[in-house]
Homo-oligomer: 337 residues x 2
DNA sequence: TATATTTGCGTAATCGATTACGTAAATAGA
DNA sequence: TCTATTTACGTAATCGATTACGCAAATATA
């Protein structure tokens, strides 16, 4: 039943050659005669020889594997980014190891550690909500493994990043709502610690300033990244009977929950409350009403992050300067605003 | 800058011991004295020693990595299944390598090949739409790598599977619609070749038979697994002006597209057309109207598949009998029906 | 006291590939 | 014709760990 994996020795024995000769023949070394190469290559094909990647990796200290750490596969833009990376990396012979941090700093640390021990050639990360220390990434870099941040990047400046301009994106959403005549815009912010959350909040504030209005702190809701939290937080907010006419949520999931809460309260969207989400997840155009939202080029972010890795994989770790790429977002206007 | 990875030899040299002694001490072998063990373990901690997993894997012929192949991360139930697997496998020290076949047979073959070459300890697969040959899986099994199918399993009987009873699930949906007084139920089937598509169709037919009604072949729409295809296929179907009062779609995404088409045609849901989807994706409860659908225990499917792997990883390949697990689905009734 | 056994460790071989180095035979140059 | 250089391999070392085996010293048994 159990067929043995063919190894170089099997080919060598069959052709009365030595193992290194076979190895060199397969890699088309100049030291090997044409006839020998031909014989080896043909037999290797016939026997369906495939190199043991563990042995190759051990010897060459290169595995052609890249680790990707994302908060969760549930997030549409995370999956999209991963898919973009694969697109680029596969072409260069790399395969991708995906890890979910599930927004846990501890898991993230363990995963980075495991990727290092597995000797991946690079690590691409979108950090978890709870990540505040970056030692694990520095460890990886010190082992000579390039680290690239994408989407959620830390303040740490020692590594390249691919991000969007969160402040600008938030501003564009708020200005859009101003244009629709809204002035009292609820902002459903994400988890307070998260950087993108803060930055989008800054955008919110700046937009108010630019428009000559005073922002009202009572309009800010902090909650987690889930529909349910969005629903509950909005529900309890609405009970306070604060006057509102617009709503901007840090992401579409939270927004969906918020919309449900608003509608349950008898308010009409967009007539009473105009709503803008973030991410343009696939289903939001089919909601009632279809959601206005900010499209983030997740797939492209993934591709760019992968390209940065390809650039940095051979860089001399001594004097390399991290790159920071900022990709553009797009406001998709639909009927909710 | 580049700190060297600590290896056994570094510890051995520092303590004037041999490499095997250090190795044994770390694995708590009975052949090593207590004092030596203590010294080794402490120094290993202090130096932050981590074994090179490539070397360990090569020597032990065991990598503690499991390959998972899914059609796409976009599919909610695929991500859910993967998450369930990780839950189980992590506890046993395995990490997971995720590959997306993107519904391509060729990609699937390459990925299986790559997983074999990477010497994973097992492969868990949900096959692609276009997979009709199973030689690549048989190859893996012949190399001694257990293969477990989940969700989408082939007819091939030589491996264990974890699936749902697609026929029964479809029947329950149709009977539910009958109970609501519907008789002319459109079935939006998936790709014709796909097994789950056929099986759900059988369920559709059987339900009709059990209810004493004659199914109408004109009510069947074959199309791909995407919103857009669901939308377009339904749109062109509705142009034929065939009389309908119910709709059952092979999955929620297709269903969302179909619902959009139905609503655009001026038909009311559920009054004119009662609708049932499949999968209970997270957003469908927020559609207008919220979608009735069949919940598939994707997370549990993943967990069970992982458990089967754990059971089979040490089995004697000679006389092992494949297991077939069938998990229960649940009809979630909402306002669309 | 003499032999048997255990304890604790080292040496050598191994996993499957790659690379440094050596060398006989074939060819080239003087 | 004799030396210099290629050509085309083979041998040995290496990557970092694990395992088989051997062996001296310490302890136990007779």
């Amino acid at each position: 039943m159990k067929k043995k994996q063919i190894k170089l020795k099997d080919i060598a024995d069959a052709l009365h050659l030595s193992v290194p000769t076979v190895s060199r023949a397969l890699r088309d070394s100049y030291e090997i005669s044409q006839e020998t190469k031909k014989a080896v290559v043909e037999l290797a094909r016939a026997m369906n020889y495939k190199p043991n990647l563990l042995a190759v990796g051990l010897r060459k200290n290169k595995t052609f594997k890249v680790g990707v750490i994302i908060p969760s596969l549930w997030y549409y833009y995370n999956s999209a980014a991963v898919t973009g990376m694969e697109e680029v990396l596969e072409e260069h012979g790399y395969s991708v190891m995906i890890c979910q941090s599930k927004e846990s700093y501890n898991r993230e640390v363990i995963q980075v550690r495991n990727l290092i021990d597995s000797r991946v050639d690079g690590i691409l990360v979108s950090i978890s909500q709870s990540t505040i220390k970056y030692d694990h990434f520095i460890d990886a870099q010190e082992e000579g493994i390039p680290v690239i941040f994408f989407d959620r990047a830390p303040s740490y400046e020692g590594a390249s990043k691919v991000v969007i301009d969160n402040k600008l994106a938030a501003k564009s959403a708020i200005h859009h709502l101003f244009k629709k005549g809204r002035k009292r815009i609820v902002f459903i912010a994400g988890p307070e610690k998260l950087r993108i959350s803060k930055t989008r909040y800054e955008g919110y504030l700046e937009a108010y300033k630019e428009h000559g209005l005073e922002p009202d702190e009572n309009l800010i809701i902090n909650c987690n990244f889930t529909k349910n939290m969005g629903y509950r937080a909005t529900k309890s907010f609405l009970r306070k009977n604060i006057d509102i006419d617009g709503l901007f949520a840090i992401n579409d999931r939270t927004c969906i929950g918020a919309v449900a809460a608003v509608q349950e309260a008898g308010l009409k969207i967009p007539q009473d409350v105009a709503v803008v989400g973030f991410n343009d997840e696939p289903t939001v155009q089919y909601l009632t009403p279809p959601l206005t939202t900010i499209r983030q080029p997740a797939y492209e972010i993934g591709m760019e992050a992968a390209k940065l890795f390809l650039k940095e994989r051979n860089a001399d770790t001594g004097q390399f300067t991290p790159t920071k790429l900022i990709l553009e977002t797009e406001l998709i206007v639909r009927e909710s605003s």
